[in-house]
Symmetry: C2
Subunit: 223 residues, 2 copies
């Protein structure tokens, strides 16, 4: 038996996504659910990173995960093995999620009291950055094989994100990836961006990332 | 002195992109220019692959390259070192190119008689697949670090492409990438897709890809 459902989210009818996102942010604040919007290119390791973070966080925080994809349920299947609540969202071909699509997902996660919901957005460095999902925190992953020049080519996502996770540190010896340059380019787009080099495969750096996220969640719940 | 120009392409005014793409395809046929639309995720190695292909093809074919990005000119700079004609297209934040944007680029490449023009599309597995650029051939790159499950998650680009290049074979030992599975998944989306495993870094497999492209170009010019 499947331990997760697949939801076909409908395109939003709201003309003003920014206003709708602000409304969703308020609703989530009232119910005490911290929402993280996790973005990246296809194949940069969003699901593996989430799996590691769930291991670090699930003793202290009640977690729900929304996996957004155009098709397939491979990511929801992977996350369901961690034991946390997960649903697969299908976007009907769309390249991003907006606030109303995010709200449809949260509704389908149900009435369980969740301290933290993570939306794993569609793999895409362009469109997801253009739509506020109502999240309290925007986080992106850039993986080593993608190259250190990405902040030069895709400015908006680096501007919009509170944190950049640099994943796949374990393969750093096999790629021409310059850690100092990527930090310089990312900070040119966003001087305040937090940077976490990790390997989701070996768990290197994951504990530091999890500690920072715990602080963000705790501070938000206290405000 | 820069050896290439940067063009800010304007959003198309044509409501019917499919009809406009068909028109551009006819115009290109008349002037004898074969257009390839090269698509992939960010960082899968489009520019490095192009550099290798130019080395294999430039003795026999007059080549022009259009590098499309939201920002930066790093790719046009790289290609300019091969000596072929290149321009950098900036999309003004847009996630794809349509036929009219492609036409603006070809116009800026000038009146030189070119047998082959390659459009390196914006790095994105979703949106570029939705817009016919007027190309005679659609080619995508999937790189090993992205994982073999991508045809399950991003169906349209696999359906639309005549060929899939599997790049970064040199790092295959360091990733859980199943070559048999990716072929199976890709052919599920598109039974006729041609598959070329290569390493643009070591040039493994590039000659076979170049030979196939030469045949495509030759056959098209003869029809």
């Amino acid at each position: 038996m499947d331990t997760y459902r697949i939801i076909e989210v409908k395109e939003s009818v709201f003309a003003d996504n920014d206003a709708d996102a602000e409304k969703l942010r308020q609703e989530l604040k009232e119910r005490g659910t911290y929402l993280i919007n996790l973005m990246s290119s296809p194949g940069s390791g969003k699901t593996t990173t989430l799996t590691r973070l769930i291991e670090e966080l699930h003793d202290e925080v009640r977690i729900g995960i929304m996996e957004a994809d155009i098709d397939s349920d491979v990511d929801a299947d992977t996350i369901s093995r961690t034991g946390v609540k997960v649903i697969q969202l299908h976007t009907g071909g769309m390249c991003h999620l907006d606030a109303d699509m995010t709200r449809q997902g949260i509704r389908e996660l149900g009435d369980a009291e969740l301290d933290l919901v993570v939306l794993e957005n569609v793999g895409n460095l362009v469109c997801p950055a253009e739509f506020d999902t109502g999240a309290a925190l925007n986080v992106m992953i850039l993986s080593v094989p993608e190259g250190h020049d990405k902040p030069l080519k895709y400015p908006l996502i680096f501007q919009r994100c509170n944190a950049m996770i640099i994943n796949k540190l374990d393969v750093l010896p096999y790629f021409d990836f310059d850690m100092a340059l990527v930090e310089q380019y990312a900070r040119k787009r966003n001087p305040d961006i937090k940077i976490f080099p990790i390997s989701a495969k070996t768990s290197e750096g994951v504990a530091e990332l999890a500690d920072w996220l715990k602080d963000q969640i705790k501070n938000w719940h206290e405000i």
